[in-house]
C-alpha cells in the first residue's frame, strides 16, 4: 500500500511539472495547514487532528488530507487522501486519487473523486465520493464557515456527514447515513499562522454504524491551528 501511495505521489509531481512550466506569476509552492490539532474533554481524552498539505501551482496541485483520532491506547482511526487537484472554475477544484482509512484493527483503500472549493456565502466545502474493491461506495461531506468577531478572534462552525452504500463491520461503518459531526471553534490568531482555540464538538453515529460503534457525545476541546 505504501508503495502505491509513494508511486502515486511521484507520478503526481511529475505530472505537475510537465503540465506547467512555472511562470513568474505562478511559482511552485507548498502549504501545510493543521486546521485542528486538539484534545477533547471526553472519557478517552482523545487527541484529534485534521489537516492538509499541498504542493503545486495555481491550477494544478497535489494534496494530502489527513484526519483522525488517537487515545492513550494508540490510533483510534484515521482517514487519509492523496489526490491530484485541478482548478476548473474560479472557486472550485476537482480532485482524483486514493483514500486510505485505518482503525485499530482493519484498513481500507478507496478510489476517490472529490470537489473542493468556496461556495456562495463563503462556505468552505469538500465533497468526496469513495469506492472500494468490496463494492462499497462512500460519500463524505464537509463544510466550514468563518465568523470574525474581531480581526483576530474568529469563530468557525463546521459540519461533517458520512454515508456508505454497504455495511462494513470490520471498519465499523454501516450503510446509509453513518455519522454526523458538528463543531464550533473559537480561535485567536496571535499571528495569521498560529492560533490557539477552544471549542465544542458534537458527534453521533447512526443506523448500523451506531450498532457497531455507538457514539453520541458532546465534548469540550482545546487546540492549536497553525500553518506554514
Amino acid at each position: 500500500m505504501l508503495k502505491k501511495l509513494l508511486l502515486g505521489s511521484l507520478v503526481g509531481i511529475a505530472c505537475i511539472q510537465t503540465l506547467q512550466a512555472a511562470g513568474a506569476d505562478d511559482p511552485i509552492r507548498t502549504m501545510l495547514i493543521m486546521d485542528k490539532f486538539e484534545i477533547l474533554d471526553n472519557d478517552e481524552n482523545s487527541r484529534e487532528w485534521e489537516g492538509s498539505f499541498y504542493v503545486g501551482y495555481d491550477i494544478d496541485k497535489l494534496y494530502i488530507y489527513s484526519q483522525g483520532a488517537a487515545t492513550s491506547d494508540g490510533l483510534e482511526w484515521s482517514q487519509n487522501d492523496l489526490v491530484y487537484s485541478r482548478a476548473i472554475a474560479p472557486f472550485w477544484d476537482i480532485q482524483a486519487g486514493v483514500a486510505y482509512d485505518k482503525n485499530d484493527d482493519a484498513s481500507r483503500t478507496w478510489g476517490e473523486l472529490a470537489v473542493a472549493g468556496l461556495a456562495p456565502y463563503f462556505f468552505e466545502t469538500r465533497a468526496a465520493l469513495l469506492f472500494n474493491g468490496e463494492g462499497n461506495v462512500g460519500l463524505r461531506l464537509e463544510a466550514e464557515y468563518e465568523m470574525l468577531f474581531t480581526q483576530k478572534l474568529i469563530l468557525t462552525p463546521s459540519f461533517e456527514a458520512d454515508f456508505y452504500s454497504k455495511d462494513d463491520p470490520e471498519m465499523r461503518t454501516g450503510s446509509g447515513l453513518s455519522a454526523l459531526e458538528a463543531g464550533l471553534r473559537l480561535r485567536y490568531e496571535i499571528v495569521r499562522e498560529f492560533a490557539p482555540y477552544i471549542g465544542l464538538t458534537w458527534e453521533r453515529t447512526y443506523g448500523n454504524t451506531y450498532d457497531y460503534n455507538p457514539v453520541n457525545e458532546t465534548s469540550l476541546l482545546a487546540g492549536i491551528r497553525f500553518w506554514f
Partner: protein, 570 residues
C-alpha cells in the same frame, strides 16, 4: 570627459583622466557614492546589496548607488544622455526609465527591450531627452523595486514653464518591508487576505441590522456573499508589513522640505511604491496641481489628491505662516502613512493628522448598474448634467473595434455588468470627505489637443482577476499564455479598459503616451500611467509612433507578472 558630480575623494582622483570606455571595460568593484542628486549628461549607477535599517531591524536592500531612493537624476530637455549601469548583484538586474520616450532597446525591460544586465556587467543606455517634467526610474527585474531600486528623474525644460516657483523638492513615496518579496507573494497566494486587518466582522453586520433592519442588511450583503467578494478588499499588502517612506524616510525620521514664508514651493510627487496607493494632502494649504505624469495641465486648486502607483503629480504650494506643515500621504486602505514636513526650520517638524476611516467598496465598484440597483447610492458622486453629457459623449464614440482573444474560467471571478466612465469619482476612501479632491475629470491638458488625430480603431482590454486564488490577468489570459498585442506603426489607437475586478489597477504603457479622455477632446491629458477604478471603464488614445517591443502592464508589483502584455509595434 563629462564631469561626474557624485565621485568625490579617492575615487575621483583614481578615475581622473580615464575615459568612459575604460570604466565600462573594467567596472571598479565599488565606487564611492555620496550624492543624492546627480546632474549632467553622463551618469554612473551601481546596483548593489546594501544593509539598511528602516524599521529598527537590519535588512538587505537592493540599491542604486547605495541609497534608498536612488539618486535623483537631473536631465536637460534636448540633451543626449549616457547612463552606465553596473550590476553588482548575484542576479540579473535592470533599470527602466518610467514615462521616458526613447528607443525600444533603451527601455530597460528584460525579455522585451534587452536581456537585462547580468551579474558583474555594465549596460550603457544612451538616448535623447525629448520631454521635461517629473518622472522616475526603477528596476524591472523580479521584485528588486520593492527592495529599494527606484529613484526620481527631473527633466529641466527647454522653454520657460508657464508657472513660477522659488524652490522645488522631489517627494518620492514608497513602501518598504523587512519581509522578502517572495515571501509576501507566497503569503498572498496561500491566503490572499493575509495582510487585510480591516475585514467585515459580525459587529459590522449587527450595527447595519440596527440601522436598516435585518432584511435590508441581509439583502445588502447578498450580492457580495453570493459572489464571494469582500467590500473591504482595498490593498493586497498593508501597513501590517509595510513602512511607508517619503524620500526614504519613515514617518519617525521625517523628510523635511524647507521654505521661507511667502515662497512658492513646487513639490514633485512620485509614487514609487510597489503596491500602495496614497491619498496626499498638506493640511492648512491648498495645492495647485500643475502637472500630471510630467505634463503640464491647466492648474487645479485642490485639498487632496490620490496618487496611484507609478503616477507623478507636480503641485505648487505657498505656505502663509512660518510653521511646519505636514505632508501627509495615507495609504488607500488607511493602515499607515508616509509623513514629511514643509517647514521653515530643520528643527521644526509637523505632527501627522489623524488618518481617515477606511471606506468600503460600493456596488458601483463592482460595476453594477446604479439605476437598476435603485436604493444603492454612490457616495460623493454628484453627477451634474454637464458630466452626464461628457460621459455620454465618450460612450457615443464609435471606432472599428479589433476583437481580442478572451477567456473565461479560473482566471476571472467577476464581470462588471454595467461598467461606467467614473472620472469624476475620487474613488473609494475619498468620497464625501468634505475636502476638494482631485479627480481625473479635473485633468485638462494645458495645451490644445484639438488638432490631434481621431482614433483609427479601438481595442478593449478587460482587467481580470481571481482574488481568492490571487491570480491576475488581462482578458482572462495571463501573460505567460498570451500572444503579444499588435499595434500598427503610425496609427492612432483608442484603448478602452474595463475593470472586472474590485481593485484599482494603475496601467502603464511603455514607449508611447496615453492621451486620456476626460470628456474634452480639445484637452486630452497626457499620461504614462492610468488608474482604472474597480468596476469602471476608462479610455485613452495612443499615437503609435515608436517601433519595437514594449511592455504594457499593471504597475502593482504582485499583479504585474500576470496582468501584463507585450506590445509589438511594426
Amino acid at each position: 570627459m563629462q564631469r561626474r558630480t557624485f565621485i568625490k575623494g579617492i575615487a575621483a582622483t583614481s578615475l581622473m583622466g580615464i575615459t568612459a570606455t575604460d570604466i565600462e571595460a573594467k567596472p571598479p568593484r565599488k565606487r564611492e557614492h555620496n550624492s543624492t542628486t546627480l546632474s549632467g549628461k553622463e551618469f554612473f549607477l551601481d546596483i548593489d546589496y546594501t544593509t539598511v535599517n528602516i524599521t529598527g531591524k537590519k535588512a538587505v536592500a537592493t540599491t542604486i548607488n547605495g541609497q534608498i531612493p536612488g539618486p535623483t537624476l537631473v536631465w536637460q530637455e534636448g540633451d543626449t544622455i549616457t547612463l552606465h549601469v553596473t550590476n553588482h548583484l548575484k542576479k540579473s538586474s535592470s533599470i527602466h526609465w518610467h514615462g521616458i520616450i526613447l528607443p525600444a532597446p533603451m527601455d530597460g525591460v528584460p525579455g522585451i527591450s534587452y536581456k537585462g544586465i547580468a551579474p558583474g556587467e555594465t549596460f550603457t543606455y544612451r538616448f535623447k531627452v525629448q520631454q521635461h517634467g517629473t518622472y522616475w526610474y526603477h528596476s524591472h527585474s523580479g521584485y528588486q523595486e520593492q527592495t529599494g531600486m527606484y529613484g526620481a528623474i527631473v527633466i529641466k525644460p527647454k522653454k520657460k514653464e508657464p508657472f513660477r516657483y522659488d524652490k522645488d523638492y522631489v517627494v518620492l513615496l514608497s513602501d518598504w518591508s523587512d519581509e522578502k518579496p517572495t515571501s509576501i507573494y507566497r503569503k498572498l497566494k496561500l491566503s490572499s487576505d493575509y495582510y487585510n486587518f480591516n475585514q467585515r466582522t459580525v459587529g459590522d453586520f449587527f450595527s447595519e441590522v440596527k440601522k436598516k433592519g435585518f432584511g435590508q442588511a441581509f439583502d445588502d450583503r447578498k450580492m457580495w456573499n453570493k459572489m464571494r467578494m469582500s467590500d473591504r478588499d482595498l490593498s493586497d499588502v498593508t501597513g501590517y508589513t509595510y513602512t511607508y517612506l517619503m524620500n526614504g524616510n519613515a514617518p519617525a525620521t521625517q523628510f523635511k522640505a524647507l521654505f521661507k514664508k511667502g515662497e512658492k514651493i513646487r513639490l514633485r510627487f512620485i509614487n514609487g511604491a510597489a503596491m500602495s496607493f496614497f491619498d496626499v494632502r498638506i493640511p492648512g494649504l491648498k495645492m495647485t496641481v500643475v502637472a500630471a505624469d510630467g505634463n503640464h495641465i491647466k492648474p487645479v486648486s485642490v485639498d487632496e489628491f490620490r496618487i496611484g502607483v507609478a503616477e507623478t503629480y507636480d503641485v505648487i504650494v505657498q505656505p502663509t505662516s512660518a510653521r511646519a506643515y505636514a505632508i501627509f500621504a495615507q495609504s488607500i486602505e488607511r493602515s499607515g502613512y508616509a509623513l514629511g514636513s514643509l517647514t521653515p526650520s530643520a528643527s521644526l517638524s509637523a505632527k501627522a493628522p489623524k488618518m481617515d476611516k477606511p471606506q468600503a467598496l460600493t456596488m458601483a465598484d463592482m460595476g453594477m448598474d446604479m439605476k437598476k440597483m435603485g436604493k444603492q447610492k454612490m457616495g460623493g458622486m454628484k453627477m451634474g448634467n454637464k458630466m452626464k453629457y461628457r460621459w455620454s459623449a465618450m460612450e457615443a464614440q464609435k471606432y472599428p473595434v479589433t476583437k481580442l482573444p478572451m477567456a473565461t474560467g479560473v482566471q476571472s471571478t467577476m464581470k462588471a455588468m454595467a461598467p461606467k466612465y467614473r472620472l469624476e469619482d475620487p474613488g473609494v476612501g475619498l468620497r464625501k470627505n468634505g475636502r476638494r479632491v482631485l479627480t481625473y475629470a479635473d485633468l485638462k491638458n494645458r495645451y490644445s489637443t484639438r488638432r490631434d488625430r481621431k482614433p483609427d480603431r479601438e481595442i478593449i482590454l478587460h482587467l481580470t482577476g481571481n482574488m481568492e486564488r490571487y491570480m491576475w490577468s488581462i482578458n482572462g489570459i495571463k501573460y505567460a499564455d498570451a500572444q503579444p498585442l499588435r499595434f500598427h506603426y503610425g496609427e492612432r489607437l483608442r484603448i478602452t479598459f474595463i475593470n472586472d475586478t474590485m481593485m484599482n489597477h494603475p496601467m502603464h504603457l511603455h514607449g508611447m503616451w496615453s492621451d486620456l479622455e476626460t470628456g474634452d477632446d480639445n484637452h486630452l491629458v497626457r499620461k504614462h500611467t492610468v488608474i482604472v477604478q474597480p468596476g469602471a471603464k476608462i479610455s485613452y488614445r495612443v499615437t503609435v509612433d515608436a517601433k519595437g517591443g514594449w511592455a504594457y502592464h499593471c504597475h502593482l508589483l504582485y499583479h504585474m507578472a500576470g496582468m501584463f502584455r507585450k506590445v509589438v509595434v511594426a
